[in-house]
């Protein structure tokens, strides 16, 4: 299907199903139960899942295939966001120009930065990208305040020109939309004690993620993708084989920069504000972690990694003491009290602790990331089914 082989088609359909049914999958707990606080099926977080999924997929095209670890990719996301908000301020709150601008501007930006940074490899490349991103952040936060609104973040205002739109007499800023369909529109579907939210903004982002995912599969399976893997495997040999790795690298860098730009554009499409914080080095680090956590160089891994980190960031950080008391309420007091005290280290403001521990555990025990965990589980299950089959170390094809 669509020029994919059978296995990839399966993978693609799997992701498609995940995305379509996300409102159900993410809201497994009934609303009135205490576990409902672990539900993640609300528009903001669902949008974040797919947007950061796009970001991580794009990053993986660079890092996963070529092994070049960019520590400044958040800069492209940030630049995309700024470009998007400016389009919404100047032209129209229809998100189409914003998205186009986000991708184009991020592409140009990554072309320039990539051209310079790719003169070096290894950690020197990483530090160069980091340096550029940190400079972008520092300048956006301070000196460039007239363009970026600095600390506050660039947002829409009533006084914006929006030249492609009819004059706005009402006292409200028009909402971001896609040819009239507002990003925040949607409906709830209640089934018994469950409520499932279907949000237009989410599905729009999801369509983009599907396209992004599809492109990424095609890149992985193309001669171009093979060359990128060759760069990672043995860049010297590439040269002696008559291949100039620089254009390949630069193309990969720009493609992943454009992915980041698209993610940034979508972020402002669903929530029209671009803050400098999203260019900070920790944001760049986050996408590295997402990719590694999910499984570097795999197709699905980065999406899973992005989902996992965003889930922890948004759900665990919002649990507080009373939530814990409610969760552990079924336990006798003498157990509940110390348990809540300990658990408090890991939720609310301690969510970073959970994240840190999770990184360590996954890196220590699952070097291939979450996807390796899934595969191991799968292997375990299938081995139980057919014990007579000889087990052999599988060559790890890029998944």
């Amino acid at each position: 299907m669509l020029g994919l082989n059978k296995k990839d088609t399966g993978l693609f359909l799997f992701v498609l199903a995940l995305i379509v049914f996300a409102p159900f999958i993410l809201n497994p707990f009934p609303e009135s139960s205490d576990l409902a606080r672990f539900n993640a099926g609300y528009p903001d977080l669902m949008q974040r899942f797919v947007i950061f999924g796009i970001f991580a997929i794009g990053f993986n095209i660079l890092f996963g295939l070529t092994g070049y670890l960019s520590f400044g990719h958040a800069a492209f996301l940030g630049v995309g966001s700024y470009a998007g908000v400016w389009m919404m301020k100047l032209l129209t709150v229809n998100i189409v120009p914003a998205l186009i601008a986000a991708i184009v501007v991020a592409g140009i930006f990554s072309l320039v930065i990539g051209y310079i940074c790719l003169r070096r490899s290894g950690i020197y490349f990483s530090i160069l990208t980091l340096a550029f991103a940190q400079m972008s952040f520092a300048l956006a936060y301070s000196v460039l305040t007239p363009i970026t609104a600095g600390e506050t973040g660039l947002q829409l205002s009533l006084a914006d020109p929006r030249i492609l739109e009819a004059a706005n007499a009402s006292g409200t800023i028009p909402a971001a939309n896609f040819f009239g369909l507002e990003m925040r529109s949607g409906f709830d579907w209640a089934v018994g004690d469950w409520v499932f939210t279907f949000n237009f903004g989410y599905y729009l982002c999801a369509v983009f993620m599907l396209i992004a995912f599809y492109i990424s599969i095609r890149i992985f399976r193309s001669p171009f993708g093979m060359m990128l893997r060759a760069v990672k495997s043995n860049q010297q040999r590439m040269g002696y084989t008559g291949l100039n790795s620089k254009p390949y690298m630069l193309a990969a860098f720009v493609i992943s920069g454009m992915y980041a730009g698209l993610a940034g554009g979508l972020m402002v499409a669903v929530d029209p504000l671009a803050g400098a914080d999203r260019m900070f080095w920790t944001a760049s680090g986050e996408v590295v972690l997402m990719t590694i956590l999910g499984g570097v160089g795999t197709l699905l891994g980065p999406v899973l990694g992005a989902g996992m980190i965003k889930y922890f960031e948004n759900i665990f950080s919002r649990l507080n003491e009373s939530d814990l008391n409610a969760l552990f309420g079924f336990l006798p007091d003498f157990i509940q009290a110390p348990l809540v005290t300990v658990a408090q280290m890991f939720v609310g403001d301690g969510w970073l602790m959970t994240l840190g521990l999770m990184f360590m555990l996954i890196v220590i025990f699952l070097p291939g990331g979450l996807l390796e965990g899934v595969q191991r589980l799968g292997a375990l299950v299938s081995r139980k089914k057919k014990t007579n089959e000889p087990s052999q170390p599988a060559a790890a094809p890029a998944e």
Binding site: G67, L69, I116, R119, R120, S121, G122, I123, Y124, I127, L128, L130, A131, F132, Q134, M135, A138, L139, Y141, S142, V143, L144, Q235, W281, G285, V288, L289, I292, L293, V296, M345, D349, G350, L352, M353, L355, G356, L357, M358, F359, M360, V363, I364, P367
Partner: protein
């Protein structure tokens, strides 16, 4: 002129901290080949050794002072440190006053223990893993260490005064023939600079003049060969890790009176010190020290009002700008060797 001298002084001071952290990072990288993102956290832990010792020294019991009241109108409880009670006002307060320098004594064993535990318990298993994994696991560790410290000490900076003897400033202006008050420099910062020189010298001397150091240097140059000689290089590397932890910790201890420590201070230094290490050249100890001081001084110059007026925002980006220029002109940093960390 006086302004320039002043900024050189400032830069040396800032550079001291960069150099010490970068030195430890390079030791770990050079000997073990591990990219340690938890190194900033070690610096922070060192600083909290000082905080902890100070807290221990000021352990107090409460005495009710009926003549005064607290904010709720109850009689005021006054805290009297046990040290004051045991040793008398003068001695007790003197011990508390000197808690930062005294912390060096506890920081050395504590940091060594932390370093050993880290290397044996965690890092050891990552020698053969890709650098990305090393970065991730040490980054995770750094977050955990930070959160633990935050859990016990809160998020706000905790003031740690220098001993009274070092409070105040030295007027270099008068010494050098400028106007009074033109080049004022705090005593403690001079102490910090000298202290870092001593530490740097000690590390270099140790590597240069001891057998241990020679083996380690050989190991840094070519790990496999030394391994073939039948020397247990692994154990020596463990000790190197502990030494790097001690260097970072001591840098942290002595830094507390300069900038009040908080749980996040390590992260602030981490990125900068990586830039320092790379600018110096991965794996080069003199490079790390040189780059540390160089970037410190450049940063200081860039923060002069006259410079900011010409290039707005230069103070925000100077370090990164220098890093970019150095790396483009000298591909392996100032003193880096070929082939280190390039794939």
């Amino acid at each position: 002129m006086d302004a320039i001298i002043l900024q050189i002084l400032n830069g040396l001071d800032k550079g001291s901290a960069y150099a010490l952290i970068a030195l430890g990072l390079t030791l770990i990288f050079g000997t073990l080949g591990v990219v340690n993102f938890a190194h900033g956290a070690l610096f922070m832990l060192g600083a909290f050794c000082a905080v902890t010792l100070n807290a221990l020294f000021t352990l107090s019991h409460q005495v009710i002072d009926p003549s005064r009241t607290d904010f709720l109108g109850n009689p005021l409880r006054v805290e009297i440190p046990y040290l004051v009670e045991w040793f008398g006002e003068a001695t007790g307060n003197a011990i508390i006053d000197w808690s930062v320098p005294l912390s060096i004594l506890i920081a050395i064993p504590v940091m060594a223990a932390i370093g050993l535990a880290m290397e044996r318990g965690l890092i050891k298993h990552f020698y053969k893993r890709p650098h990305a994994d090393q970065i991730l696991v040490t980054f995770g560790l750094a977050i955990v260490l930070q959160q633990v410290v935050k859990y016990f000490y809160g998020a706000n900076p905790i003031p740690m005064p220098a001993p009274d003897a070092f409070v105040g400033t030295y007027d270099f202006g008068v010494l050098l023939g400028f106007d009074p008050f033109s080049i004022m420099y705090p005593y403690w910062r001079l102490v910090y600079f000298l202290f870092s020189l001593v530490i740097i010298a000690a590390v270099f001397a140790f590597l240069r003049y001891t057998t241990f150091g020679m083996v380690v240097r050989a190991g840094m140059a070519d790990r496999e060969t030394v391994g073939l000689l039948g020397i247990n290089i692994g154990r020596r590397f463990t000790i190197m890790f502990a030494i790097a932890a001690i260097v970072a910790g001591l840098a942290g201890v002595m830094y507390t009176p300069i900038v009040a420590p908080n749980y996040n201070m390590g992260m602030n230094f981490l990125v900068l010190s990586f830039v320092v290490v790379v600018v110096g050249g991965m794996g080069s100890l003199p490079g790390a020290v040189l780059a540390g001081f160089m970037l410190g001084i450049l940063e200081s110059f860039a923060s002069m009002a006259a410079v900011i007026d010409i290039v707005p925002g230069i103070n925000q980006v100077i370090i990164y700008l220098v890093a970019i220029v150095v790396l483009l002109v000298r591909p392996r940093g100032l003193m880096g060797r070929k082939g280190v960390m390039e794939d």
